[in-house]
């Protein structure tokens, strides 16, 4: 259906001009659509109209008193006048009202110069007001943990309260008190205990809400550089605020990028990591047992020498690289090119590809056109949302914001299926909890129930039999036996999804890291295709998608061309002007190769596998097996301790490049501040190394590499820096036009011996930490100083721990100390542990030999 042609319109006159606008427009929207400006103060496009400031009044024929344009829908034949003597007077009166209790502290206010009240006062020519300011009880500024609230500056626009509820789904703020004595108060007790996304700070039009991170710049001294947030995979646009070379804060802006001004705690308050004192700034080489500072020349020379030696003695496969998913596309492309074209080695990995190649580099081989990469605009078009093993609001929080907006504006229903009980606001239409490990049974039962009640019309399956084969062979009741879900619940959910149509199914980290992740994904792909829906897999890091796209994984070249294919090798041989071998062989395992002594030189680029990969102790031993270890990074870390050469790299704010986000959008990152110390972007380091190795690989700039990507890499054609500078561009992924397939999948329950270890452990990110950098932000460390163990009230009682205790969490592999959070978010038998803490890495609990990690919990010191 063509929306524009069928949407109803309304005709009205605005200031004498007859206009036609969509039905449902407010007067304000209709006016702005037609280039007529009406001043506003509390209005914010992304929120439902609030109507508190009463500035946007207009005259409407037939109404004695003025009408507020922001809250009033247009009706056919309406006659609107947007400026008159009375309106000017009233608008000025409103400003005088508001200014009565807003002290003119502008010279010392951090919002001065970017204050909406200041601007409106000027625009509406309010030069005096007749009222004496009544002092509130001279309240001190409220300490809201990471935020500060100054009641005296607050103008009660209510944006903060609304954004926290409508966009963030938290409802951490409300108005307390009445009338003139009203104030904004936290709903979380004495002080704020929330997501600390800072949306309230961002939408505050004045200086009433400020950050606990002291901000000493004046707005006119700041240069804002638009770039992409370097934390999770959402790819939010941020503005890095720089004063005299110092990064003073991160902001965003409604209307730029994919995030519409929304950010999470990491994006908004994680910027201290950039110019942190902890930055690693000088190249170092091991002399004897100690790492000592050196110059770039010696360091790179050293690396080149060791690589040449290894290649000469043990062949190209003796050199391997593990690349962070936070490096840029250009870095990733260059590194793999140096390995494949220069060294003829295919020993190139990301941690995600090591863990789960089928859902990373192999995603298109695995799922073809059903691959779970979906443009964000589909969120607004979905018939329903299904969060499957996905803690949507904690994992990639700004995607959750998009979901919330769709639920608010379109009433899109939400269904949740999880082994835990992650919360979401607004609430789901239906939630089911399955036993961890029975995911495929649940999906089989859903498909079976759909099939029994009649498949929906919008099914994408021409021949549904392949899609329902497994489900039919198992049967609904049989499938549910082990899943712990009632048949009634499954039938209701199947019916709900069918009725709402076109589900967008979100797969979270629980699924990505699941021992049966590929099976579950195939099963859900069947469900999606039967119901006209799509899958969206939450990626973890800012360039997880890009690293896959750039061929950082053993199975594929850039653009998902298989490394074991003659044709692909031929393609890149031609493009790169050098003979590329066909890399074939069984699925390799970098860690096993290390342990077996096959990899002599290991380069670890920008990541800390010991902290972040499963079973860190084993990883440590594996890395130690390499004769020579090179580690690049921006901070010291656990893996860096093992380095023979350590090379300092820039962070995103210090360089140019591009990331590809969760929806497959390539976006430009821009240099905002000078690199710390001698740090360099990865591409420069590797360019230098290539030169030292005598390779014919030479780029002057990062942009030049992007130019080559835009020329050679399938899907990336034309995506030069110039092309992506404004709003980025979506990658044209392979296989879009091919037919979708139905998959058979096995429904074997994943279980493990629970003796002595009563809880299944799901390990993931908190809202506050991700990867290496976040631990170097003081603010984020205040929000989350260490790992948390989320445990259900029953399990906590059984384990003898209470909320706030320090607990010892122990698996057969190891143990860590974590803060107990007793919460209904965890269901009985499943605990959740937050990772990313180098001093207590939850990943060390995961054991490689068993598919499910089980733990026991006891009180520390108890």
């Amino acid at each position: 259906m063509n929306e524009t042609s069928t949407a109803k319109t309304v005709s009205l006159t605005i200031d004498g001009q007859t206009v036609r606008v969509p039905e449902g427009d407010t007067i304000l929207a209709a006016a702005r659509r037609n280039g007529v400006d009406i001043p506003t103060l509390c209005f914010l496009e992304k929120l439902k109209p609030i109507g508190s400031c009463r500035i946007c009044s207009v005259e409407v024929d037939g109404s004695a008193s003025p009408i507020m344009s922001c809250v009033t829908p247009v009706v056919e034949g309406m006659k609107v006048v947007t400026s008159s003597e009375r309106l000017s007077r009233y608008r000025q009166e409103m400003m005088r009202f508001i200014l009565t209790n807003h002290p003119l502290d502008c010279p010392v206010c951090e919002r001065s110069g970017e204050c909406l009240l200041q601007n409106r006062t000027f625009e509406l020519n309010v030069t005096e007001h007749p009222f004496k300011t009544i002092d509130y009880k001279k309240t001190a500024v409220d300490d809201w943990n990471e935020l500060r609230y100054n009641r005296n500056l607050c103008i009660f626009c209510e944006r903060c309260v609304k954004v926290c509820w409508e966009i963030q789904g938290f409802g951490a703020l409300e108005i307390g008190g009445n009338g003139y004595n009203a104030r904004i108060i936290p709903t979380t007790g004495e002080t704020l205990d929330c997501d600390f996304c800072g949306q309230c700070l961002a939408v505050c039009p004045v200086g009433a809400i400020s950050s606990a991170i002291v901000f000493s710049a004046r707005s006119w001294e700041i240069e804002k550089v638009e770039t992409i947030c370097p934390f999770c995979a959402v790819g939010c646009s941020i503005e890095v605020n720089v004063k005299d070379g110092a990064l003073v804060r991160n902001t965003s802006n409604d209307g730029i990028g994919v995030n519409n001004g929304n950010l999470c705690a990491r994006g908004r308050f994680g910027h201290e990591s950039v110019q942190s004192d902890d930055r690693f700034k000088t190249p170092m080489v091991r002399k004897g047992v100690k790492l000592v500072e050196t110059g770039w020349d010696e360091a790179i020379g050293n690396v080149a020498e060791k690589i040449s030696e290894a290649v000469k003695n043990d062949g190209p496969d003796s050199v391997g690289v593990i690349v962070s998913e936070t490096v840029t596309n250009e870095d990733a492309y260059l590194i793999q090119k140096i390995f494949r074209a220069g060294l003829k080695s295919n020993r190139i990995e990301t941690l995600s590809n090591m863990l789960n190649p089928k859902l990373n580099s192999g995603i298109f081989d695995e799922l073809g056109p059903s691959a779970p990469i979906v443009p964000y605009d589909q969120i607004g078009k979905a018939g329903s949302f299904v969060f499957f093993g996905c803690d949507a609001e904690k994992e990639n929080p700004v995607i959750a914001n998009m979901v919330r907006v769709a639920m608010r504006d379109k009433g899109t229903p939400l269904f949740v299926a999880n082994a835990r009980n992650p919360l979401f606001t607004p609430s789901a239409r239906q939630r089911v909890r399955y036993e961890y490990g029975t995911e495929t049974q649940l999906v089989a039962a859903l498909i079976g129930a759909l099939n029994e009640s009649g498949l929906p019309d919008n099914s994408r399956a021409d021949d549904p039999s392949a899609f329902i084969k497994t489900a039919e062979s198992v049967g609904v009741s049989e499938a549910l036996k082990s899943a712990g879900v009632s048949e009634e619940a499954v039938r209701r959910m199947a019916e709900g999804i069918k009725t709402a149509g076109s589900p967008l199914i979100f797969l979270g980290k629980e699924i990505h890291d699941h021992p049966k992740s590929a099976q579950i994904t195939r099963a859900l792909s069947n469900l999606a295709n039967l119901t006209g829906g799509r899958l969206l897999l939450y990626r973890e890091y800012c360039n997880s998608q890009g690293a896959n796209d750039m061929g950082v994984g053993r199975s594929h070249f850039p653009g998902y061309l298989r490394t074991d294919s003659d044709q692909a090798a031929g393609y890149y041989s031609a493009k790169w002007g050098v003979e590329i071998p066909v890399f074939s062989g069984p699925a390799p395992d970098t860690l096993a190769e290390l342990v077996a002594g096959k990899i002599k030189v290991l380069i670890v680029v920008g990541c800390d596998p010991i902290t972040h990969y499963n079973d860190g102790q084993f990883v440590r031993e594996a890395i130690q097996s390499a004769g020579f270890v090179v580690v690049t990074g921006s901070y010291d870390n656990e893996t860096g301790v093992l380095a023979d050469v350590a090379l300092p790299t820039t962070v995103a704010a210090e360089r140019d490049g591009s990331y590809t986000n969760n929806e497959g959008r390539v976006q430009l990152i821009r240099k905002a501040v000078e690199p710390a110390g001698q740090s360099r972007p990865e591409w420069e380091i590797f360019q230098n190394l290539a030169g030292r190795l005598g390779m014919d690989i030479s780029y002057e700039t990062c942009e030049q590499i992007a130019g080559e990507i835009a020329e050679f890499v399938p899907g990336y054609h034309g995506l030069t820096h110039n092309r992506i500078a404004q709003g980025g561009a979506l990658v044209d992924y392979p296989g879009k036009s091919s037919d979708v397939e139905g998959y058979e999948f096995d429904t074997v329950t994943v279980s493990s011996d629970g003796a002595g270890f009563p809880f299944v452990a799901v390990i993931g990110n908190s809202l506050f930490h991700l990867g290496v950098a976040s631990r170097h932000s003081k603010a984020l460390n205040r929000m989350a100083p260490g790992p948390c163990l989320e445990i259900s009230p029953d399990d906590a009682a059984a384990a003898g721990v209470t909320d706030g205790d320090d607990a010892i969490v122990e698996s057969v592999q190891g143990s860590i100390k974590a803060k107990v959070v007793v919460t209904e978010r965890s269901s009985n038998g499943v605990v959740f542990i937050t990772k990313n803490f180098e001093n207590a890495p939850a990943t060390h609990l995961i054991y490689r030999k068993s598919p499910v990690t089980r733990v026991k919990v006891s009180r520390a010191g108890g």
């Binding site: 508190s52 400031c53 009463r54 507020m68 009202f97 009338g179 009203a182």
Partner: protein, 375 residues
């Protein structure tokens, strides 16, 4: 109060026997109008909710009787709770609602108990015939603003009682976003009477409840047909002024209502004039400035603070009246007060801000601003 006899459930039986549409016809025929102050035709409101398309609808009985000088709803729920509940049940049946709320003023503890008792007293068989509707007694958090219907809905939804912009009206998108009928206690208590008597007889015998208070001999509840004069209510029903002092004015409709001076004693009080039926009588010893200040203090306290004109206006109003006027005769301040009044009336979000200065305006109009000017 003879015609308001405790219900014998006859009305329920009668209403059950006819179709919902016919109930609404009957209500329309009776001429019943909203008795909470607005006077909106009840039949028309019910029909709107009946015709609204939604899988869920709600009925709310507004018993948040916050207007000073009003105590009729309290009288009704304490003495005739069955009639209120019958009204609610008939309304639910008529509009197609399965759930209803009786939103009770916090201070009405006795009323709460009597409603609870009454709800339990209904014959289960009869309730079953109504499809076992759900009636929830809901104690408001307290505050004048909770009587404003959109604020009341917010409050039941678990949010701060804050008025909302209209449209959408509660009849389209009210409680939890569903079409919602909100009627005042007195309005709903009249519904069973219509079915007991029949619409025509009811129309002829309809009596409005007036709450007469202030400087009269016998303060209390009085029933009278629309068109009754203030003179009859004050001097016949309430037995005249309390002392030898003369009548000065009455606030008809409470502190947000209109001011009647002695010139207005013979005006006929019909729907447009009687408001909610509150009549506060003041004798000649009362200071008009104190009256205005008293009311200003009330509204400054009760304003929810959401919209700028009401939040700032009510407190400004109070502050100016409380301090010494800026110039000797107060004329400068009077200009500011008048401007405040106009702006608040024209731009406030809800009725609170729009009516907070009604009494001030009327006193200035009827007694001259001079009576307020000397400080």
């Amino acid at each position: 109060m003879s015609s308001m006899s405790p219900a014998d459930n006859l009305a329920l039986e009668k209403a059950l026997a006819i179709k919902p549409e016919e109930i609404i016809d009957e209500i329309t025929e009776s001429g019943l109008r909203g008795l909470g102050g607005a006077g909106f035709p009840v039949g028309r409101k019910w029909r709107t909710v009946r015709e609204a398309r939604s899988d869920k609808k709600f009925v709310i009985c507004n018993a948040e009787e916050g207007e000073p000088g009003t105590f009729k709803d309290r009288y009704l729920i304490e003495n005739f709770p069955e009639m209120v509940i019958e009204g609610v049940l008939i309304a639910m049946h008529a509009v197609g609602a399965k759930q209803s709320y009786i939103y009770l003023r916090r201070e009405y503890g006795k009323g709460y108990e009597s409603l609870k008792k009454a709800v339990r007293g209904f014959p289960p068989g009869l309730i079953k015939k109504f499809g076992s509707p759900e009636v929830t007694l809901w104690k408001g958090p307290g505050g004048y603003i909770c009587g404003e219907e959109s604020a009341l809905i917010e409050s039941i939804s678990g949010r701060r009682a804050e008025p909302q912009s209209r449209p959408p009206y509660p009849t389209e998108a009210g409680l939890f976003g569903h079409p919602t009928l909100i009627n005042n206690v007195e309005t709903l208590a009249n519904v069973p009477l219509i079915f007991n008597m029949g619409a025509e007889k009811y129309r002829e015998s309809f009596k409005k409840i007036f709450c007469v208070s202030g400087d009269v001999k016998k303060r209390g509840i009085y029933k009278a047909a629309p068109g009754v004069t203030l003179r009859e209510l004050v001097f016949n029903h309430a037995d005249g002024m309390k002392s030898a002092k003369r009548f000065k004015l009455a606030l008809v409709g409470g502190v947000s209502g209109r001011v009647f001076s002695s010139d207005d004693l013979d005006l006929k009080l019909d729907y447009e004039l009687f408001g909610n039926g509150a009549i506060i009588v003041l004798d000649e010893s009362r200071s008009l400035r104190d009256t205005i200040l008293n009311i200003a203090e009330f509204f400054a306290e009760e304003s929810c603070g959401k919209c700028a004109p009401c939040r700032q206006g009510t407190s400004r109003f109070e502050a100016i009246l409380k301090r010494k006027y800026k110039n000797k005769d107060g004329s400068k301040d009077m200009e500011v007060l008048k401007l405040l009044s106009t702006v608040m009336k024209d731009t406030s979000l809800c009725g609170l801000g729009r009516t907070a200065t009604n009494v001030f305006d009327d006193i200035v109009k009827k007694f001259g601003q001079e009576v307020l000017m000397t400080s």
